[in-house]
């Protein structure tokens, strides 16, 4: 039962859900949540491959990824806060005014 494909499939499903979230969410924080799903799916992959042959390197990269994701969340949230302060709204549709 310890088949790598199970973990990979789980990651794919998580990733797919995350993608769907990014595609459909209109709220900036909502999108950030979906992105967390994506990142988590990737981490799961890294750890799975580490367990099935690559060794500690898998975890090292997962840790790198975690750190990057955290940074991204920080900056993303800062932008959200900024967005809110200037516009009183964080619906990303309205951010499309940059195309005008």
């Amino acid at each position: 039962m310890m088949d790598i494909r199970i973990f990979l499939s789980l990651a794919v499903v998580l990733f797919t859900i995350g993608v769907y979230g990014v595609l459909t969410r209109r709220n900036a924080v909502g999108i950030l949540l979906s992105i967390e799903l994506l990142a988590n799916a990737v981490n799961l992959n890294l750890v799975a491959f580490g367990h099935f042959g690559a060794g500690a390197v898998g975890q090292v990269f997962a840790l790198f990824s975690v750190a990057l994701t955290v940074t991204e969340v920080i900056v993303g949230l800062a932008i959200v806060v900024l967005l809110y302060r200037t516009r009183q709204d964080i619906t990303v549709d309205l951010a499309s005014e940059m195309s005008r």
Binding site: I4, S9, V13, A67, V70
Partner: protein
Amino acid sequence: MLANIALIVLCAWTVVSAFFVVASKNLVHGVFWLAAMLLNTAVIYIALDAPFLASIQVILYTGGVITMMLFGVMLTLRQSGTIIPNPSQHSPGRATVAGLFGLTMLWAIWTTPELAAMTPTTSGSADEIGKLFLGQYMIPFEALSVLLLAGMIGAIVLARKGDA
């Protein structure tokens, strides 16, 4: 056998919580579903023989990130007592694309013989991870620390009150 059942339940529960991250109408609920999903993943890490990473996951993610998310939600959507909306734009096209992506990936995973041949080994201890970080991956590690610092400063600068 029991382990297998437990794993399947775990996986199913992970998928369900992930689904509600995306599907919940209340944003705060969404954040908590994400926390649940992250904790589930931490358990899976343990199952994958990576307890160190699991602890990081719990501390950093479920502790730090979720707090920050809540913080962000509360800061920006200060409607007390009501449901904080999490509007979505559901469309069949988007669902199809996401679904097709998943199916393609699954197809790839289950048709690749190399994957089937893989057997579990050890994941490596915290010891080994530490040596790798301060040895082979020294420079990326340091660069990452600088990036974190920059992200922190950037966040402060961006979110600072006053002349934004």
